[in-house]
Symmetry: C2
Subunit: 273 residues, 2 copies
Amino acid sequence: MTPDCWVNGEPGIRISTFDRGLHYGDGLFETLAVRLGRIRLLDHHLQRLTAGCLRLRLPPLPLDVVKDELTHAANGQPQAVLKLIVTRGSGGCGYRPSASTQTTRILTRHPCPEHPAEYIQYGIRMRVCDTRLSRNRTLAGLKHLNRLEQVLARAEWTEADNIQEGLMMDEEGSVIEGIMTNVFVRLSHGVLATPSLRLAGVAGVMRRHILECAQQTGIPIRIASLSLTEIMQAAEIFVCNSVIGVWPVSAIGHWKFTVGPMTRRAQTWATQC
Amino acid sequence: MTPDCWVNGEPGIRISTFDRGLHYGDGLFETLAVRLGRIRLLDHHLQRLTAGCLRLRLPPLPLDVVKDELTHAANGQPQAVLKLIVTRGSGGCGYRPSASTQTTRILTRHPCPEHPAEYIQYGIRMRVCDTRLSRNRTLAGLKHLNRLEQVLARAEWTEADNIQEGLMMDEEGSVIEGIMTNVFVRLSHGVLATPSLRLAGVAGVMRRHILECAQQTGIPIRIASLSLTEIMQAAEIFVCNSVIGVWPVSAIGHWKFTVGPMTRRAQTWATQC
């Protein structure tokens, strides 16, 4: 079944072949979870989108319109996923953006992906991806449309491997994130740690929410470069994004982990947003 | 005027909003120069495209069909530019590519960009871009659709600055290429040098052609990491791509260069293809 789709607020499933989103990945996206007609962490999503537009020097978005469109698409949906793509639109000369470009908004509504309940209860299995994330301080943190690294990483295994997510390092060997998630670990001394995204990675809204909850609860936080060894020695590890919430990690390759109290706490936070 | 455009061989200027080229930049492109109905370096372009499909694990292209479409679009055109985009098409689940995906081909024909004759004669002015290229050995060399770095670099100056091209370094400070060109320098001892593209950059077909010509002529070649200091101390410097051919560089920021014999030779080679 084709998902519902709107282009610049009008129903439609076609865009111009000249759109810079296609030519250069010149744009941003957000993936939003809908529960009982309500969008989780909507303000976090809109803040990240606004910050991304600033960084890419995209024209400022009509935020009221965007919010209305998202709310309308969510309305009456028991469970759904919305994906909003914002591109610099058509125009400009080659790579050079035109000052007068009008952005293109593409909003799609999908059924919520169905995952086995065991993922939440007992955790998922990850692999360490061969594909590396490149470092770029200008683009780090943004949820932009240049996602070939994730595509290649996700193509490294098939469904038969019983692996649910891939762990990605950057070109220098620092652990950054999952392919579609952010990563947290509880270190042995009780610190909640997550990789710094200063040089690579996507600053997920669920990551932000969990960090905010941890801070409010007084849990010590470390945001820093994390090596694979540090990850493997973690007391517990979990991944998160706005659609799945929080999944414990039970294994990375041959390393096994047990699901711990910090993960359960983060799962509670994930449902409270 | 809207350029001519074909999607999968049929006239059209629309593609699906679900195309992975838009969502992830999951694809490749080629920009081809047409002179008197003939495509320059067509085989080089098709070879790079084929190699790119292999690297990205795109389904093999129907090369005969692609060649026919390109040749047909070039036929009768005194001067034109063709741009061919190949994406992984629609489908798959999130980042994961589907095995059964059909690629999308988007072919556009544009008028040849008009540049002042001085560029060829006296050279162009470049700036050193603040935007850096990220290192990624999996993607290096490919002409893929993840081009945000080039977009941001090209947005660093306006037409009023009288700058024609930007020089891009990678995150570690090695000089890699121009925004839309490859870079060559003649070192003081007569060696023709161009940056290695093992970690970043696009392996241009004109770069390949020039390297082949230089090799056949017995000119010593160096393909290696090049620092900005080495570039600034070069006896001469030029940039190239398949559309502009070869442009001498007369200035990078405040550094001045004179147009030398190696550049003139490369310009001759560029017209012989």
